[in-house]
Each structure stands twice: as C-alpha cells, then as structure tokens.
C-alpha cells in the first residue's frame, strides 16, 4: 500500500490512545494493531526485519510495570489493598486499586502507540520513509541509504580483521588488544568512504546541488542569508512560544496570549525556509508509489473509524478516570464498533496483492517499480 495511506492509518490508530483513557476502547485499538502487524508479517516479499516482533510481549511488560510503578508511587484512591510501612521512603503508604488501574492504563496506552508504530516500521521500508523527507534534506536521504549498505559491509570487514589478527597469534587479553582490531577497520572504513565519495561524484552527485545542464549555475547569493535569518527567527519563535505555553497561566502582553501565534508563525517560517531550500535542489525521484482506490478506501475507513471517539472526547464524554473510587469503564457501541474500521489495511493488503498481478500484465514498467514490495 502507498506510504501515505499507511501514515493516515497509523495517525488514526495512534490517535485513540492519545484522546481516550477508556481501557475498553484501548484494548480494541491495541488488538487491531496486533492483527495488522501479524497480517504484514505473513505477507510475502516483506523485507523489514521483525525488530518489533512482539507487541503482545511488550504490552504485557508495559501494563505490568506501569501498574506496579504507579501503584507504588501514587497513594491516591479509596480502595486500599494493603499498606506498606511508612518508613520506606516514596513507596511507603497505602497501595490502592485505583492507582494500579491508572498505571496499567498508562502501560496500555504506551503499548498501543508502540504497536501502531511497529506497523510503520514493518509496512514502510526506511527507503520509502526517506522519500517523504522534504527535498532540501536530499543529502540526508542519500546518507541514510548509504548507511544501510555501509554498516553491513563494516561488520563483514570487522570479521575479516578479527580473523587476520587471530592468525598472527593475537589474543584478547586486555583493552590494549582492541587496537589491532580497531585500527584496520577504521582505516579501511575511511578508505571505503573515500572510494564511495569518488564513485558518487562520478555519477553526478553534488551534495544536493546538482543542476540540470541547461540551467547552468543557479546559485543566487543573498537569498541564502535571508533564508538563514528567517530560519533563525522561525525556530526562535517556536522555542519562545513553546516555553511561554509551559509557564503557569501563560505569559500575556496586554491581555493577549502570544504563545500560540508565535508557535504558528515560527513553524510556518521554518517550513517556508525548508521548502525554499528544496526548490534549489534539482533532482528527481525514481521510486514512486501508486495511489489507487484501495488506498482511498483504507484512508477514508481509518478516519471514519476514529471520528466518533474523537468528537465525543473533545466534548469530554468518552474519558475514564479510576479515581477516586474504581468503577467499570463505560462502553458505547456507537464509539467502539466503528473502531473496527481500522482493520481496513488487512483487506487493503489483500486487494493490492491481487491487483498487482493483473495490473502488471497491462503496464509492466510503471506498476512494478511503483509497487516493488507489493504491500
């Protein structure tokens, strides 16, 4: 599926734990992300390594630790389970069911967010994530791509060096014995970096300033300094705005809250500089993902699924708070059932996979490059 469709889905799935603390909605959301993670991992052609392979195990850990931590630290609540000796600093005092539940919900929120982002790392390869960086960051994109190939080759080289030193009778006895391993790897790494830089230069890479031949040098002096000033001002106002918002009651001049305008203006200025810098960068992208009806449907379903819960929490009606006395969380099917719409990617993955095969015959080049991974 198209990365943007995934971004929208992840945004929706991650929104639920951010807006509500009702454990029932959280559990539904968490279960859905787990099912989607599983669906991606059973896909053929998935390259991403299952680094975050175990959202369930993580969830168990987060809920347990969250509950224990909050239970021991916070002594608020009316249902007292047991009383720890007051002599123990910090954790001494009553252990309440309310604080345990509150902490467990914290853990569940964390686990749900974690699992939603696990989908991101599994479904969208780093390469494609990089493609959504602004153009001004093209050198960063290239550097990341290089790192992806450079790191494994360094590991191979380390192995070679280790063997080469071993056959000279080298043994690891102390810190000093790391030098024979470290030096050849370092020197070899620098040599390879130089070779790579040379190879990139020979293929027209100019650190993000490559220009089409017809245009000639397009560097406009002066515009650079303006951009720098705007960038400093922009980032500065974001910072000041952020700090102002943290101050109790907000800082007001003549009765006006300046923090929000500062944040908005600063962000806009910064984005403008990035966009402007990007317009100087002349390069294009080979890899394009295609957006089809499947993506549209998934995106719409994802948004619709979380809309009710969003509206109600904004009106303050879908919250849950165990304090001061534990009660069952409320569950409104009108909020909970739409969440199942978040299962859309499972259908989407299937639809795209079937679609690719038929489309490939029609337009081999365009479609296969666009959907190389068939996600």
């Amino acid at each position: 599926m198209h990365p943007v469709a995934w971004f929208i889905w992840i945004g929706a799935a991650a929104l639920v734990p951010l807006v509500t603390r009702d454990p029932l909605y959280l559990v539904i959301d968490f279960a859905i992300t787990c099912v989607v993670v599983d669906a991606i991992r059973t896909q053929p052609f998935t390259e991403a390594a299952p680094v975050f392979a175990a959202p369930l195990r993580f969830a168990a850990f987060a809920v347990l630790v969250g509950a224990l931590f909050n239970g021991l630290i916070s002594h608020v609540g009316e249902t007292i389970l047991l009383r720890l000796p007051d002599a123990i600093p910090l954790i001494g005092g009553p252990l309440t069911a309310e604080s345990l539940v509150y902490g467990a919900i914290n853990g569940l929120i964390l686990a749900t967010l974690f699992s939603a982002f696990a989908v991101l790392t599994l479904a969208v390869p780093v390469r494609d994530l990089i493609a959504y960086l602004p153009r001004a960051f093209y050198p960063i994109a290239v550097v990341s791509a290089i790192a992806a190939t450079f790191v494994p080759s360094s590991v191979r080289q380390f192995q070679q060096v280790r063997e080469a030193q071993a056959i000279r009778g080298h043994r690891m006895r102390g810190l000093r014995d790391w030098l024979p391993l470290f030096m050849p790897v370092l020197i070899g790494g620098l040599e390879r970096a130089l070779q790579l830089a040379e190879a990139m230069t020979a293929r027209g890479f100019a650190g993000g300033n490559g220009q089409p031949e017809s245009q000639g040098p397009a560097v406009r002096r002066g515009s650079g300094t303006v951009a720098q000033i705007v960038l400093v001002l922009g980032l500065g106002s974001v910072l000041v705005g952020g700090v102002l918002r943290l101050l109790p009651g907000g800082a007001r001049w003549f009765g006006l809250d300046l923090s929000l305008p500062l944040l908005v203006l600063g962000t806009a200025a910064t984005l403008w500089v990035v966009w402007r810098a990007g317009s100087h960068v002349h390069h294009t992208r080979y890899r394009r993902s295609t957006w089809t009806g499947v993506e549209s449907a998934c995106a719409v379903l994802s948004v619709v699924a979380v809309l009710p819960i969003l509206i109600l929490t904004l009106r303050g009606e879908a919250g849950y708070n165990p304090y001061p006395r534990l009660a069952l969380p409320g569950f409104d099917p009108l909020l909970g059932l739409p969440l199942l719409g978040l299962l859309a990617p499972i259908w989407g993955l299937q639809a795209r996979r079937n679609g690719t095969h038929s489309a490939e015959g029609a337009d081999g080049i365009g479609v296969t490059t666009g959907e190389g991974r068939r996600l």
């Binding site: 791509a145 063997e163 009778g169 030096m183 830089a197 020979a202 027209g204 294009t284």
Partner: protein, 554 residues
C-alpha cells in the same frame, strides 16, 4: 572522441609526476586497453577523462584532455558523467543504494530526469546488460560478475558515449570476469560505445581491443598503438605472445586463436611430461574427511566443505583451484583453526591439531588472507613483525629468523621503516607475508594472493613460492590465476561444491575443466606443457620438458 595532449599530473605533496607528456587519440567506437605496472598512473589517466583528476584528488595537471568535445578539467566530474561513464575496481565499494533498480536510477535522480524518462532509461540499460530479471534483487545477493554488470549499467544510465573501466575484473573469478568482459565487448561491438579499460591480465582482454596505451611509469614515455605493436615492444605479454616472440612468429599472435594458426603448419612432437624425480613426498599437514558447516542462525547451517581429505608435503607446492563459493577459503580457514570442522581430523607433523587454538597452530602454519590490509595496522613494517613475535611470546632476539634477513628475503630490506599502508599492493602483501613468516612456519597457505598484482609483483611472488618450496616448506596456494598455477604447481587440486573433484598432475587437472587451461596448454593440447619455458624446451628439444626441480617462470 578522446584526445590527450602532453598530459602531465602531480598529486598534491607528491615529489614527482605520475604522468608526464602522455599524448594519445581515441576515435569513437574504439576499444582501448590501458596497461602498465601498479602505480604507473593508469588510474590517474582514466580519472582525468571524467575530471575526477584533478577535481576530486587535487594536484596539478598540465597539458590538455578533450573528451566528447569537452574539457573535463574545466567542466568537472558532476557534468562529465553525462559523457563518460566510470566503473571502479571493487563493485562493493561503489554502490550507493541497496537494490539493482535504485542503484541504476541514482545518476538519473541526480540529473533531475523526469520520472517517466527515468523508467525508460532504467529499463533500457537493464536490458542492455541482461539484468532485467534481477531488477528487484538486493545487491548483496548478487554474484561478483552480476554486481559489476550493475555498476556498468549504472554508469551507462545517463547514456554517455564513453565507458571507462578501472580494472573491473581484478576482484572476480575467471567465470565472472569473462561475464563482465563479454558484456563490455558487446556494448562496444553492438552500440559503438567507446571503451577505455585498464587491466593487468592482458590475456583476458587483448582479443577485444583495437588500441592500447602502455604507461610504463617512472617518467618513461607512454606507448600508444595497436595491441600487437605495443605487446611486441614490451616485456609484459601474455604467454602466447612470449612464445611467439621467442620463436619469431610474425605477425605476433596476441590470442590463442592467432597462435594456433602457426601451430597447424608445424608437426610438433608431443612430449608427455617426464616423471618427477626425487623421493616420494612425506606428508606434513594432513586433513582427513573434513566436514565444515557454517551455522549462522543456529538452524543447521549449510555445509561448505564436505568429506575433504588432503595432505601437504614439505618441499611441494599444491595449488587449489575452483570457482567462487566452492569452499576453498573455508577449507583454508579450517586448516588454521579459524573455523572448526564438524567432522574429521587435521594433523600437523604427526600431532592432532583439530581442536588446538588458532594462535598455537599459526606458529607453524602461515596463512595469508585474501585482503592483507586486514592484517596491517602498525606504524612501520618492522613493527608489524615484532607484533607477531610478541603475540606468540617470542623475544625479538630469540626470533627463529632475524627480521632483517626475512625482509631482505622478501625484497623489503629498504622498507623496514616505512608505513605499511603507503606501500604498493604487492609490497603490502609481502609485508603481510613477513608478519606471518617471522615465526618460521613449516606450512604456508596463500588465499588468492594475485588479486590486483601486476606482472612484476606476480613474478616476485612466484619466485618466493619456489624459493620456499626449495627450502622445504609445504605450500598450499589458492588461486584463480591459472598462468601462475601453471608456473609453480607440483600438484593441483580442483574443488567444486565443497568437494575435491580432481587432483593430481597439474597438466591433467588444469586441462580437464574449461576455463582453467593455461594458454600454452590450449595451444598444444596433449603435450603436457603448461608454461612458455616448457613449450620452448619441448619444441627445441633440449632436455626433458619438466623436472621436479626449479621449473622456470612463464
């Protein structure tokens, strides 16, 4: 297409010129070989064609180069890439992306081509180099030859009219090298692409070329002409040309096909090799039914070496040949204990060393790995030797062989104080050998020692191997270089798929598989000759063609 007018170049802070007064002219559609010893300036000459010299390297350039109507010195490498595609020696170190298509598109992205146009170009070069089936593959899963073809495709994506290749096959086995060179020759013949190719092993490439530039280095003037003229005038020639020169064949043959024309007219006497004289060799290092498997993720692993038995005798050179991935390197590693075998036994001088620690084995078994750079890290050559001694707990005064004498033996007497990484490829390799040989081992294992060596360095290596053999060392040489194998081997083992498929007399084994026969064996099938010296002796009839003693170099 390309003209060089009194080209000279000096690297920054270098005392002398690398190139001086080199003039040449290359027409569109030419296939040019650039030859010469290491460090003579071949790479510099190639890099001046796309502006990497002097833009990337720095330094001072004199004279003029014009390529496709442009001056690379003025235009710079970023813009020259539309006119000159450049392929480097090591395919691994020139990849930017991790997949075939993305790698090819990299230059196109930099040139800001429209996405539609990019797809057309990528499809075009994929087709041109027979890579269409591999387009979605990850680069790390490709063979060496396939990787180098991807590099060529990536260099051609911008449709340059000149393709420059800097020793593109030096890291490849014979089969992959053939694969790459055939692709280059086809681009030249079918597309009229101008090719400029630097290469050490002339026997591989002379058949394709119509021009040759020989850069002798050391301030001597460069030689430019047809391959036949240039090869006729220099010492570094493939065996068939050497033989032709010695026998006065004219016009001088530069390929085995051309050489055969002379032989058909002669009724040459088939002289089967004389029996080896001397006593039967006494095994020193023996391996019995070895099984070696790697288990990278603990799930069984794949068996790389299976049921291999071999014995190395003192005073004998055993050569091990085989394609990449046949298990040769793994076998060597298991002999020194770097990889422990799952089954079998290794004995050294009657002692079981199967489970002995590496450090202990390596006192008596020297092993030169493929990349000697992995070994070197000290500030001076002498220090490298002392570090090995210290590792083994031997005081420099008690060294079995004086360090100075060892360096002299290896032709490094004046390099004792030099920084190892500043030396040439051949010298660095001999420093690595010195660091291994300082404990005076009884066995020497060499893993593809001829990579990147020029004819002179290769000749020195062959000399050393013979010298050690005569001094009573047991030597195992793994190589892709069949001409070197022909000059030093007493016995040849051929490995395939982890097993030893054939072993015995060098001639029998080397001529039994295609791709491994030396040029002389191809010229005189059935004669038992492998080297120029043997052929000359056989043809001129002075004495037995082969003896166990001191076989002359080819």
């Amino acid at each position: 297409m390309i003209t060089g007018d009194r080209l000279g170049f000096r690297y920054p802070e270098a005392p002398q010129l690398v190139l001086s007064e080199v003039s040449f002219a290359v027409a569109a559609g030419d296939f040019v070989i650039v030859a010469g010893p290491s460090g003579a300036g071949k790479s510099t000459l190639l890099r001046s064609l796309n502006g990497l010299v002097p833009h990337f390297t720095g330094g001072t350039i004199s004279g003029r180069v014009i390529v496709d109507g442009l001056e690379p010195v003025v235009v710079g490498p970023q813009r020259m890439c539309r006119h000159v595609g450049f392929v480097f020696q090591d395919p691994e170190s020139q990849f930017v992306m991790d997949r075939v298509e993305d790698e090819i598109a990299f230059a196109l992205e930099n040139a800001a081509l429209a996405p539609g146009e990019m797809r057309v170009r990528v499809a075009e070069v994929l087709d041109l180099l027979d890579l269409t089936a591999l387009r979605e593959r990850s680069l790390s899963t490709l063979s060496g030859g396939e990787k180098q073809r991807v590099s060529i495709a990536a260099a051609l994506a911008l449709r340059p009219r000149v393709l420059v290749l800097d020793e593109p096959t030096s890291q490849l086995d014979p089969e992959s090298a053939e694969d790459v060179l055939a692709a280059v020759a086809r681009l030249n013949a079918e597309r009229g692409l101008t090719i400029v190719l630097a290469e050490h092993r002339l026997e591989r490439v002379l058949a394709f070329a119509n021009r040759m530039i020989y850069v002798p280095g050391g301030g001597h003037p460069a030689m430019v002409g047809t391959p036949r003229d240039v090869v006729g005038a220099i010492d570094l020639a493939p065996p068939v040309s050497k033989l032709g020169k010695a026998l006065g064949w004219s016009p001088l043959p530069i390929t085995t096909e051309e050489g055969r024309a002379f032989i058909r007219e002669r009724a040459f006497q088939s002289a089967v090799a004389a029996a080896r004289i001397g006593t039967a060799p006494v095994p020193y290092l023996t391996a019995q039914s070895l099984d070696v498997a790697y288990a990278p993720r603990g799930n069984g692993g794949t068996r790389v070496v299976s049921d291999v038995s071999l014995s190395l005798a003192k005073g004998e050179v055993t050569v091990l040949v085989g394609r990449n991935g046949a298990g040769k390197s793994t076998l060597l590693k298991s002999l020194v204990g770097l990889v422990k075998p799952q089954r079998g036994q290794i004995r050294l001088g009657g002692r079981d060393i199967t489970a002995a620690p590496v450090a202990e084995i390596c006192r008596d078994v020297a092993y030169l790995p493929q990349d000697p750079n992995a070994l070197l890290f000290a500030d001076t050559v002498m220090e490298e030797l002392q570090i090995t001694l210290r590792n083994h707990g031997i005081a420099p005064s008690e060294a079995p062989v004086p360090a100075a004498a060892l360096l002299a033996e290896l032709g490094l007497a004046d390099k004792a104080g030099a920084y190892p990484r500043d030396l040439s490829v051949g010298e660095r390799q001999r420093v690595a050998l010195a660091a291994m040989m300082v404990t005076r081992p009884g066995v020497v294992l060499l893993d593809e020692p001829t990579r990147g060596l020029d004819y002179e360095a290769k000749g020195r290596l062959a000399g050393l191997i013979r010298q050690w053999r005569d001094a009573g060392l047991a030597i195992l040489l793994v190589t892709h270089d069949v001409e070197l194998a022909a000059t030093v081997a007493d016995r040849v083992l051929m490995m395939a798929g982890g097993k030893i498929e054939a072993q015995g007399d060098p001639h029998d084994v080397l001529t039994s598989a295609t791709g491994f026969a030396p040029q002389i064996a191809q010229l005189f099938p059935g004669s038992g000759w492998l080297t120029v010296a043997e052929a000359l002796q056989g043809l001129c009839g002075d004495g037995p063609a082969r003896t166990g003693l001191g076989r002359a170099g080819g």
